[in-house]
């Protein structure tokens, strides 16, 4: 294994300086605000991070586009909304089963459109004369073939530029096929600064055109929705298993292992819990305003975090039997978790990780590493906003730039007939006194150590410098970074696709993750690969080698 560096001997200011030294002045000035040395001594106030701002052209970013965030992330995991990509062929191909969302239709003949991609495949003529007719034809074909309950239209870059009105087409075709809910997303790739814009666009449309169409509640006690869980590697299945065992009813998940009927009646549930704050907080906020459903943040990544989240949900419902049951389930599940955790910890304790991924994952996975005694040296998000780093308390201070202003912010009002507060004001207050944090998220930084580096929108060059300086035992990111990092002799764990393993959520997921990290860190394979610094002794003087 690679030689280790003593974290405390590294001066983060020097690393930051080196990271910035190669940039032109203008770029350096901007990156200086996006590379932050964490400080947690000041209560819950952490340093400010510049986030959700444009990537500098020519710098290799991890980020994707609004289409990817809308079609790929938020709507992609839903199995029975037929999705049509309106545009030339590439985008539909690249978003075809690319993320590893799993789904389990309830019956053998229930529709599942996920292994299926449909594109209007625009050609030059349509780019010149308009593609609306072809879009109509595609919708007709889709209805003829499948007669789905709902069709989503996803716009790619040229669509907005040539002036195709996907929303008008959706309305017109809905008149023609009144029993199919047809809606369009203006998620052209150039919108916003990352996939985050696409999340917001998706949230808006799902809220206006899907949620609330049926007031028929699902059967079951203690009904709640999970927002921002996308069932990568079967995570949602594990959460469903645990919830069921506890006696909880998941009404709908946005959007892992989900179906349309659960979405349209989601407003009948009594609670929204938010996993991936970045991609779905808009929907939680809007559902609270319109229907009176409270929300709070949970995390099912990490055994401790899962237990904590379950307790919080049970406490919310306030049922003694439920609370006792949750405790029983946690105790049962933790037996195996602890057995594996302690065994793996004996080999992984003291090792180090870096996480640069997502808009929540870089935060959530630190819990799992902590459970096996591993330290996070540096972390950052690809497409998060300041609130995901510093907590929602900074939202009023966030400067709205032109890129964000172009994404519609819906004005939501109370639904006079259906608004019903799930808890009275005095109840809410009583919960708050007990430490309940409603509609809030503390962000990643308060949970990270002093002097760790927090970096937004990390790029290739910076990855290289970080690895050279810190020599982490493991680096977590996505497939684009995987082989770049592994060429440097450091294993990379993909936290987008999980390297096609998983689940990592819940209790069984935690066990899977511990074992996976154990395998990666203690394999013989990486011993065959020489890391660059093993041949560059000039650095050895300034660091304490542990091996």
């Amino acid at each position: 294994m690679t030689k280790k560096v003593d974290f405390n001997s590294i001066k983060p200011e020097e690393v930051k300086e080196e990271l910035l030294s190669k940039y032109p002045v203008k770029v350096a000035r901007k990156r200086a605000k996006q590379i932050v040395i964490n400080k947690v001594d000041n209560g819950d106030v952490v340093p400010e991070v510049l986030a959700n701002t444009r990537t500098v052209p020519g710098i290799l970013t991890m980020r994707g586009c609004a289409y990817a965030g809308c079609k790929g992330v938020v709507l992609g995991p839903t199995r029975d909304i037929l999705q049509i990509t309106h545009g030339p062929i590439g985008c539909a191909f690249y978003s075809w089963l690319t993320r590893r969302n799993q789904t389990r239709p309830k019956t053998d003949d229930a529709p599942n459109f996920m292994p299926y991609t449909m594109s209007t495949d625009l050609q030059e003529d349509e780019v010149i004369f308009g593609g609306e007719k072809k879009l109509k034809k595609a919708i007709e074909e889709a209805v003829g073939l499948f007669h789905p309950k709902a069709i989503g239209i996803f716009s790619t870059c040229p669509v907005g530029l040539i002036g195709d009105d996907v929303h008008a087409v959706a309305r017109e075709m809905e008149e023609k096929f009144p029993d199919v809910n047809i809606f369009g997303f203006s998620c052209e790739g150039y919108k916003g600064v990352s996939q985050s814009a696409g999340h917001h666009i998706a949230n808006n449309k799902v809220f206006t055109d899907v949620v609330g169409l049926s007031d028929k509640p699902k059967e079951g006690k203690f009904r709640f929705n999970i927002l921002g869980e996308y069932n990568i590697g079967g995570d949602a299945f594990e959460i469903e298993r645990v919830a069921e065992k506890c006696g909880l009813t998941i009404h709908s998940t946005f959007s892992g292992n989900s179906e349309y009927d659960e979405f349209i009646s989601a407003h009948t549930a009594d609670l929204n819990v938010v996993m991936c704050h970045r991609s779905i907080n808009y929907l939680a906020e809007m559902m609270e305003k319109k229907f009176g459903i409270p929300w709070f943040k949970v995390n099912f990544i990490g055994a401790e975090s899962s237990a904590k989240s379950l307790r919080k949900i049970a406490e919310y419902f306030g049922d003694k039997e439920l609370m006792a049951n949750v405790e029983k389930v946690i105790a049962e599940e933790m037996i195996e978790v602890e057995k594996v955790r302690l065994d793996v910890k004996s080999r992984c304790e003291g090792k180090t990780a870096m996480l640069f991924v997502g808009g929540s994952r870089a935060h959530h996975y630190q819990d799992l590493f902590r459970e096996i005694g591993m330290q996070t040296l540096s972390a950052g998000y690809e497409f998060a906003h300041r609130d995901d780093y510093e907590g929602r308390k900074v939202i009023p201070e966030i400067v709205i730039d032109a890129d964000t202003r172009n994404i519609e912010e819906l004005t939501v009002e109370k639904d006079d007939n259906r608004f019903s507060p799930r808890k009275s004001e005095s109840e809410i207050e009583a919960y708050s006194k007990k430490g309940f944090k409603w509609s809030d998220y503390d962000g990643m930084m308060p949970e990270m150590q002093n002097n760790t580096l927090v970096i937004d929108d990390l790029n290739h060059y910076e990855t290289e410098v970080l690895i050279e300086k810190y020599r982490p035992d493991i680096f977590c990111a996505g497939i684009k970074e995987k082989y770049v990092v592994q060429k440097q002799g450091i294993p990379l764990k993909q936290l987008h696709s999980y390297d096609y393993s998983g689940p990592y959520a819940g209790f069984k997921g935690a066990i899977n993750f511990y074992k996976e990290i154990d395998r990666i860190l203690n394999t013989n394979v990486f011993k065959l690969v020489k890391a660059p610094w093993q041949e560059t002794p000039e650095l050895s003087g300034s660091y304490a080698w542990t091996k």
């Binding site: 052209p57 020519g58 590439g90 030059e124 074909e141 150039y190 916003g192 497939i479 440097q488």
Partner: protein
């Protein structure tokens, strides 16, 4: 209403489970095949991100593709500033020998004049790094078009007319890194000086590195591309390379060129090695006649498994054409030959090799599946995306081409030459045997 319906009837079908990718992916592959070159896509960052993650899932190597990161304002006012900043940063960070720019649907739709922007950049920055520009709107071509157009643009920009030299060019279509290594080996065995362009055999199937490198090592040298126009002969393999597209025609820029299909199967390999003999004036090395003889021998040995088996071949036209020829040699009957491209010339050739097949151009997997139901097909030959056919028809899939992201070693799949044909033949035979074995209740271990 009726008039409108009529209009709709005339519109081409939408694509359902497409078997083609977009043009900038092909162009980026070519740029990754040039030493110390960095591809730069002029458009939204999603294009470079999607293409990178797709290529990486197949090649399992770093694939750096920069972007000019269009924002909404760039989409409205044009991407000049973005492109200039991107060039500044890419040249500053990577010190490349060449920057390969491919456009995207976005920059093409708004009509950005990339050649002008490059000229302005060169004047302003005094940069001496050459920049190649290839137009790759995906509403006007697919990945194989982008690949060919990038090859042509590079030759046009970099190569100089000189006195004829004693070497040949080998220009392959989108094949695997293993295939490229094989082509180099053949040139070396013929003891001939050859320029292989593009050559991503190292960049997209690299070794473990002792120290980190900003750009993966390997690729055709710029100095080799510069001499392409003075070769004594050029061997161009793959039917998609013989078409002319947005960058013109390859034949206009290559001396004494022999256009042929990918050498798969005895016939096409004989033609290929014949062209090599003619171009170099040297005889086929014995190693290859042995490979040929072993292949013929295995044709006989495996015939019982292949005879009258019915196959679907789907994917890039370069592969489909040559696989159709190969199938006709071994006794497998191609019943559907589907390509994502719309090339009537390729369709004609396929028809010649597979007279009984339904030849589908500009096609997609869903249409192929509709057609294939009830046709009693025995196997599919195609990329990982063909798994959709294989699963729905409950028949085996033999994986070839790109993308293959559900198996290991995709970058090392052998397709070309007697050796590549041998490998495909073995895989097909084994797929058929395995399928038979798995569907048997008796538990045969001898088949």
């Amino acid at each position: 209403m009726k008039a409108q319906e009529k209009v709709i009837e005339k519109i081409a079908d939408p694509a359902r489970n497409t078997c083609r990718l977009c043009a900038p992916l092909g162009a980026s592959t070519v740029f990754r095949g040039i030493e110390n070159c960095i591809p730069l896509l002029h458009g939204s960052q999603g294009c470079s991100t999607y293409i990178r993650r797709y290529m990486i899932s197949h090649f399992r190597e770093p694939v750096d593709i920069a972007s000019s990161n269009f924002s909404e304002s760039a989409a409205v006012f044009g991407g000049r500033e973005n492109l200039h900043t991107a060039l500044d940063n890419v040249i500053g960070k990577y010190q490349p020998s060449l920057v390969g720019i491919a456009t995207t649907c976005l920059s093409e739709t708004i009509g950005d004049d990339v050649s002008l922007y490059i000229k302005e950049y060169n004047e302003k920055s005094k940069s001496d790094v050459p920049v190649v520009n290839v137009p790759t709107p995906s509403y006007k071509g697919i990945h194989t078009d982008g690949y060919r157009d990038a090859v042509i643009s590079c030759i046009k920009t970099v190569s100089k007319e000189n006195e004829s030299g004693d070497f040949i060019n080998i220009i392959p279509a989108f094949v695997s890194p293993e295939d490229l290594r094989h082509l180099k080996e053949i040139a070396s065995d013929f003891k001939t000086d050859a320029v292989l362009f593009p050559d991503y055999s190292e960049t997209l199937d690299g070794e473990s590195w002792e120290s980190y490198k900003k750009i993966s090592p390997g690729g055709t040298l710029l100095s080799d591309i510069a001499r392409i126009k003075s070769a004594k002969a050029s061997i161009v393999i793959g039917s998609s390379l013989s078409r002319s597209g947005l960058s013109g025609s390859l034949s206009d820029h290559l001396p004494n060129s022999h256009f042929m299909n990918l050498p798969i199967g005895i016939d096409l390999c004989d033609e290929f090695f014949g062209a090599f003999e003619k171009a170099t004036g040297k005889q086929l090395p014995e190693k290859y006649s042995s490979e040929r003889n072993r292949l013929v021998d295995s044709y006989m040995d495996a015939h019982k498994y292949f005879f009258e088996k019915r196959a679907i071949i789907a994917g890039d036209e370069d592969l489909v054409v040559s696989l159709a020829s190969f199938m006709s040699e071994i006794g497998i009957v191609p019943v559907i030959c589907a390509t994502g491209s719309d090339n009537p010339a390729a369709a004609e050739i396929i028809k010649k090799y597979a007279p009984d097949a339904e030849v589908m151009s500009d096609s997609d997997y869903a249409t192929v599946l509709d057609k294939a139901k009830g046709m009693n097909c025995d196997l599919v030959i195609g990329s990982s995306k063909g798994f959709y056919l294989s699963k729905n028809l409950s028949i085996p899939l033999v994986r070839v081409g790109f993308p293959v992201h559900d198996r290991f070693g995709s970058q090392r799949i052998k397709h070309l030459g007697y050796r590549g044909t041998q490998s495909i033949l073995d895989n097909i035979a084994n797929a058929i045997i395995e399928h038979k074995q798995n569907s048997s209740n008796i538990g045969y271990s001898y088949l």
